[in-house]
């Protein structure tokens, strides 16, 4: 097992190097000059020259790359060109916000998606199935930004139930934090709920056809016990897999949701950084995300081997 982990870590190194090269060069290929943006409206030539020198933009790209990666290896991802704040600090500040949003959205998606899937499988072909499918399909098709703005207008402006946008740290005021996050989490969660519902439905359908369900019914068990204890429990395996995969999708969806609801999270950070040509921030974020992804994959592979002895020899 240790040898396996060691091998995987070795393979991870060139992958991380590749990611870092990609991020760095792709950014340089973006049209637009960060220094012109930073110099302000007046574009004082003296300031421009100084800033180019300070951020090493006069050096060849290769020299710039090694300077950046060298510092990154020592835990220094540079400072934001826009606000002078260290990039690592920015990431540490924004990540919990997005994780809270994604977690809440996932809970909402599961609460809506799984019961809806079970019900529509159980009532297959009836109007309940039909309604659940239409709702799921619209959940998938309605764009986040439209739903978001409509919800703000209805829930905040008309009804005054929830704050229209913004963010409250969970540690400061848990109740207010959940209230501000509820609407964005719902908008983000509905799209995921639809996918989850479809998967639950098909998993349930195949389970409901199996012999042991017929046996359970033949034993005279109540429908509730058959459905929850015998059918759903067996259908859960693929559902759990899909849910885990959807977490990545949630993080991506958070980018748009954070823009609409003005939530100061990871997604908003990266979008604003791209528009402001805040190179250091974009590079830092993509590098961190890449490394995290590789690490998660490694964990998953290790988990498979722990759970399934047949995979250990491979």
């Amino acid at each position: 097992m240790l040898a396996f982990i060691g091998r995987r870590l070795l393979i991870a190194i060139p992958t991380i190097i590749l990611i870092s090269i990609f991020v760095f060069t792709l950014q340089k290929l973006l049209p637009g000059d960060p220094i012109l943006v930073m110099a302000g409206e007046e574009r004082d030539p003296e300031v421009i020259a100084f800033l180019r020198e300070k951020y090493r933009l006069n050096d060849p790209v290769i020299v710039q790359y090694f300077a950046w990666i060298g510092a990154a290896l020592q835990g220094d991802l540079g400072i934001s060109l826009r606000t002078n704040q260290p990039v690592l600090e920015l990431i540490a500040e924004k990540l919990p916000v997005t994780i809270q949003l994604a977690t809440m959205a996932l809970v909402i998606a599961m609460v809506i998606g799984i019961p809806a899937g079970v019900l529509s499988a159980y009532k297959k072909g009836t109007w309940i199935d039909w309604v659940a499918n239409v709702v799921a399909l619209s959940g998938l098709s309605v764009p986040n930004f439209w739903l978001g703005i409509m919800m703000i207008l209805l829930v905040s402006v008309q009804l005054g139930w929830l704050p229209a946008s913004g963010y409250q740290p969970f540690s400061d005021d848990p109740l207010q934090s959940i209230k501000t996050m509820l609407m964005p989490a719902f908008v983000l969660g509905t799209a995921i709920a639809a996918t989850l519902m479809r998967h639950t439905r098909s998993a349930m359908l195949s389970v409901l056809k199996s012999d042991y369900i017929r046996t359970a019914r033949a034993k005279g068990l109540s429908e509730r016990i058959v459905l929850v204890k015998h059918a759903l429990r067996n259908a859960l395996v693929p559902i759990v897999t899909v849910t885990t995969l959807l977490f990545g999708e949630l993080l991506a969806g958070a980018v748009l949701t954070e823009q609409i609801f003005t939530i100061p999270g990871f997604g908003k950070l990266v979008v604003d950084a791209v528009f402001n040509r805040d190179y250091a921030v974009v590079q830092g974020i993509v590098l961190c995300t890449g490394v995290a992804f590789i690490f998660m994959n490694l964990l998953a592979d290790v988990a498979y081997r722990v759970l399934n002895p047949r995979m250990r020899d491979q």
Binding site: P31, L51, T262, D272
Partner: protein, 507 residues
Amino acid sequence: MAHTKKVALALAFGLAAAGVTGAALAQDMRIGLQEDPDVLDPDQSRTFVGRIVYASLCDKLVDITPDLEIVPQLATGWEWSDDGLSLTMTLREGVVFHDGTPFNAEAVAANIDRSQNLPESRRKSELSSITGVEVVDEYTIRFSLDAPDATLLAQLADRAGMMISPTAAEAAGTDFGLNPVCSGPFSFVERIQQDRIVLQAFPDYWNADAINIDSVTFLPIPDTTVRLANLRAGDLDMLERLAATDVASVMADEDLTIEQAVSLGYQGITINVANGAGADNPLGQDARIRQALSLSIDRNVINQVVFEGAFAPGNQPFPPTSPWYNDAYPVPERDVEAARALLAEAGFADGITITVQVANNPVQTQLMQVVQAMASEAGITIELEAKEFATLLADQSAGDYQASQVGWSGRVDPDGNIHQFMTTGGGINDSGYSNEEVDRLLNEARTSTDLEVRRASYNAARDILIEDLPIIYLYHVTWIWALDDSVQGFVPYPDGMIRLEGVSIAE
């Protein structure tokens, strides 16, 4: 069970605490901003939105009135020498910075030195005329100039004249913006990137009697619809830059009020007349084609169609409301026949095709589509190149464009709206325009402190520029603030700032 009780107790406490904070926040003013400000260091910052925060955080040597007159702030009086080569200022006594450092002539000297010599400073060009600073006594400072500079006082009414604590600046260096210390009515509490900037009233402020608010929270909310929704939901007390298309609905809402002021800046089409190879085309080489383009545009229709009549049509670098506007050239009527005649005279009787780059946001795109439709009726086919703003700016600066739809946020002194754009080699002269007579007139206007001399110079320059048209001016943005009707005493200024002196929130 004991655990549940503990949780319940903690929750109850949490709620009580939240309730108490709620009561204390009654005098918190929540202001919605269109963007997140950049670094909060007056010497390093560059955004308009940052200046809105400074208006509460950092006092300046002088301020302006809504009519653009210069009035005392940290300097109580000033005097020019007869030759215009020295400016002596008397400073306000008893002023302290937020960290307790006293404000005096030494502090002013240190501030000017930092603005001029900090490598990262964006203020160098604004203070370039100052060659010497002399501390006359504790509350008197004298600036020596290499040449008379009529724009200096206006510069000192903005970021270049903002006074920061020399102690804090010395200690923090370029990181000053992470924890700014000034002497304004409010002091810095905290900033969460892209979320909020919180300031609290400074008890030792020299003009504390004019401040009725305990704290201010600035919330950047870029989406105009969401920003307005926050105001309507009561989560904001006021917002800046209401979309022109929302004015009617806000006016119809009896819980909200609107305040407006025509801005100091302009929007127009900059044409590449001599900035590299991009100028090598009929539009860049023949002023008649530029005149034809200008004549084909109905500026009032633009204002009605794109901005619901909320902005101000224009044809000069200064808005028609400005004392510097030249009445000899009123905003022209659209004249398609005259435009066609000019095109024919230039040898393009069958029409001409030009390319204009435009920032890829909905408003500017719609603006240029209206212009495109109007110009086509005069035989000018406009091909629009939508670009993301950073790219548009880079191409424009490099001369890699024919024409570009851009604008300028405007300055208090007229020089700021014209000199750098129209003089040979000017820092932001992206059209590459060069005319000796215009150079002479604009330099003259810059060095004279006599208003009539300045006005005559600007008018004479306008006689030439209105023919050459390196920039076709289209309109002037109107700053529009929407306020909850509990907010009282807000005075709109043409510089777009939010000054909280005298502002209060009714219970």
